[in-house]
Amino acid sequence: MAKINNLIGIKYDISHKIIPKKIIYINYLCIFVIEFRAMSNSKLYKGSLATIILKLLSQQDKMYGYEITQKVKGLTKGELNITEGALYPALHKLEAEGVLEVEVMRVDNRLRKYYKLTEKGEKETVSKLAELEGYIKNMQVLFNPKFGLE
């Protein structure tokens, strides 16, 4: 847990409930990202890549594939590296489900495919994050970690 606190740069006790929700979400995302990396072979975490994509797209109007990989790498300071092999199938799946829509533009003499959230995607992001929040809370209950108390 110290690693997580260091990554975010803050220390807090979650039981006081005075921390802004945004910070809690960022923390959840970081915890999740670290666990995702550590347990990259787990089916549980493989299915959560979509949540990361949706979260990033909810913060930015539109993003393209390479940009997403770099953003995740930057946010996690190189801890998490999303490969093309995992990213593009996830993006195409979300597109086929109508969660994402694409905008193709000509940039620097080539075509670039931008992804952005649809109306359905915005709702999906809220529900996925709530799901993630529930998951982390359950994990906390099960493993009883103490945030920032060391």
């Binding site: 093309e84 195409h92 109508g98 003499n109 495919k113």
Partner: protein, 218 residues
């Protein structure tokens, strides 16, 4: 630091040589590779070194697998687009009136002439749509041939033609009953409606791909 056109062509040729035959699959990977190389160029690396580095990730096996993934997702996308088109068409008054008029006409033909003639009317309508689809495909043949989305969409036409062939096996003697005649009229109208909505959906997909294709060649 942006890549030159010749360098982009080299990336495109590489992807083609590794089995990514469709341009609408290739351009996304091409952009990814180009972005990677550009970032390496900014760090001081050369194009050749950066290209060799990214080449390791984009192997033939990986690219073939990705193309297969895209194929599956595109099939889903086509089905979804088609269902949306059906939903939108069903609520249009012009479609409803057209379908009723078509059904009444088929019933009239069955009663006044031979039952088989109504099948011929339906069949002629489908042939007309098939010719239109063929015409649209041939118009931009190069764009169409190398587009995975349009190739997959085209196979749906075969499905409708096969369904209609089943109706063609109906014998004149089997349709002496008035109720069966109504069922036959309804089936012909339904298949023609599905084919017409498919034609509209296909035209929209062609327009979409054409826009992207023109962007590439622009």
């Amino acid at each position: 630091m942006n890549l030159e056109v010749s360098q982009l062509k080299k990336i495109d040729s590489y992807l083609k040589s590794k089995g990514v035959e469709y341009w609408d699959v290739r351009y996304e990977f091409s952009d990814h590779m180009a972005c990677f190389i550009e970032s390496k160029l900014e760090e001081g690396s050369s194009f050749e070194v950066a290209f060799k580095e990214i080449e390791k990730d984009f192997t033939r096996g990986y690219l073939k697998g990705q193309q297969e993934q895209v194929r599956k997702k595109l099939n889903k996308y086509i089905r979804k687009t088609y269902l949306t088109e059906i939903k939108n068409s069903v609520v249009k008054p012009i479609y409803i009136l057209g379908l009723i008029a078509f059904g009444v006409m088929l019933k009239f033909v069955m009663e006044s002439y031979k039952v088989k003639y109504s099948l011929w009317i339906g069949f002629s309508f489908m042939i007309f749509l098939l010719i239109m689809i063929l015409f649209k495909s041939l118009k931009d043949f190069k764009m169409h041939k190398k587009s995975l989305l349009l190739n997959l969409s085209g196979t749906y036409v075969i499905f409708f033609t096969l369904v209609f062939q089943v109706i063609g096996y109906v014998k004149e003697q089997m349709l002496t009953n008035k109720l069966l005649q109504v069922v036959l009229s309804f089936s012909i109208v339904l298949i023609c409606f599905l084919m017409l909505t498919w034609f509209n959906c296909y035209s929209k997909l062609i327009e979409r791909q054409k826009k992207y294709y023109n962007l590439i060649n622009g």
